[in-house]
Amino acid sequence: MSRRTGVFAAVWPPLLVVLILLVLWELMVVLFSIPEYLLPTPRAVGRTMIEQWPRLIAATGRTATATLAGFGASAVLGVVAGSLLSLVPLARRGVYPLTLLLQMVPLVAIAPMLVIWFGIGLPSVIVAACIVSVFPVIAGTLDGLQSVDAGLAEMFRIQRVGRIRTWWKLGLPWSIPSVITGLRIAAGLAVIGAIVGEFVGAYGGDRAPLGAIITSALKQNQTATVFAAIGMASALGFLLFGLVNLGGWLLLRRWHASAQ
């Protein structure tokens, strides 16, 4: 009983805020006579979503595929890289500042290079999603590994357990909460990375993912379609974020305060 009311209580305030925002948006467009090519009304966006549903959902599926693959790659690479950096102190001091570079490089600038290196379509989009989302995972992993409880670490040291076994049995499980935090951030970034990658490197026409729909709709001045596609992308981001939270809850619910 309390679980169900808990979910409801968590959901209705933001939903109410969204509703209010939608109403304000509609009023603003009407009151200021904003032309449709600049800002469509929520109703126009909704109508477009319904009319173009098959095309939008298929595109969302394609973007979702690239996003999930890129996110998955980020998760794995991030944990591996973070672990390596933690195990090799010299590498950490030398390499960690450079991983920051990955975050800083504007994706829009390197996206065309990605297409040339990895090819049109899924490969370059997956790489784009991965590049943009990997750093938070590295940071979360590293953070977790560096903050292992000193008492537990000493226990392992006393028994002369090697660094790798200590990482596997102590460091990694200890880091799960902060890795999950990193993954939460990475989820949203992966969607952005995929869409930006798709602006430059995705198939159009019948095989268009959301990013391609956005660029083509812009060319046709179909701003309502642009917003509809953005809406789908946001939903995708929410979904991925929710999945990460669910995963975190499943992993942590029995033993970590954050999930209880």
Partner: protein, 249 residues
């Protein structure tokens, strides 16, 4: 299990070139018995224990521990891995030693029965009370059949009733198994109840003030109420206090 002989010769420990935790100390501990290192908070007794256990190296002198023992540690915090259930936590030392899983589980189960946690094997630390967690830690320190058990104020964070109960359990357990024990504590009653010998230490840097023989046989709860117990406790209290005020003046 023969007793473990521990001999400290001129052992001293200074941290960071400036903080002297232990002044050069000679100490020969009783083989096969329970020795309590009793001293005020921060006097360096934990450091002494850690040097005996090989966790810290002395900056002066030498420590001889013969024969080379299997050592079990128990700290003031239970230090249980929060994601493992009690069984797998207690079996951890064997697991880290490379023993097969069924052996680890079997030995862990036996020790848990010994400390009265036989029914709690599937529980996670978060589901245990403080006393139960400490008991699990004690069980873990025993799982590898140690010759030498080093206890660093293991029950300091527990309430008095639980503490008394655990003192009793441990006192009888180690005598049953003939394990050599070095116990660090700042509780006089715990030292007198558990140990065969109490070594009273001064405030930092630790020096031996006095050594007391504890003549009592079986350690039962009623022992705490006896006059002999009270008198011994009072003597040691005076000694301890004397050591502390000496340091102040």
């Amino acid at each position: 299990m023969t007793g473990v002989e521990i001999e400290l010769r001129g052992v001293a420990k200074t941290f960071d070139r400036s903080v002297e935790a232990v002044a050069p100390m000679d100490l020969a501990l009783r083989a096969g018995g329970v020795t309590a290192l009793l001293g005020p908070t921060g006097c360096g007794k934990s450091t002494l224990l850690r040097m005996i256990g090989g966790v810290e190296a002395p900056t002066g002198g030498s420590i001889d521990v013969r024969p080379k023992p299997r050592i079990g540690f128990c700290f003031q915090e239970p230090r249980l891995l929060p994601w493992r259930n009690v069984l797998r936590n207690v079996g951890l030392p064997l697991e880290l030693d490379g023993r097969p899983r069924d052996v680890c589980h079997r030995e862990a189960r036996r020790r848990l029965e010994m400390v009265g946690l036989g029914d709690a094997t599937e529980l996670l630390p978060a589901a245990l009370s403080g006393g139960m967690r400490m008991r699990a830690a004690v069980a873990r320190s025993l799982v590898a059949d140690p010759d030498l058990l080093l206890l660093d104020e293991p029950f300091g964070a527990l309430d008095e009733v639980t503490r008394f109960r655990l003192d009793e359990e441990v006192a009888n357990l180690v005598r049953e198994k003939a394990i050599t024990v070095v116990l660090v504590t700042h509780s006089i009653s715990e030292a007198v109840f558990l140990a065969d010998e109490v070594v009273v230490l001064s405030p930092r840097p630790a020096r031996i003030i006095e050594r007391y023989d504890i003549p009592f046989g079986e350690r039962v709860a009623s022992l705490r109420g006896t006059e002999a117990f009270a008198r011994l406790q009072a003597d040691i209290y005076d000694c301890l206090r004397g050591g502390m005020t000496e340091g102040e003046s």
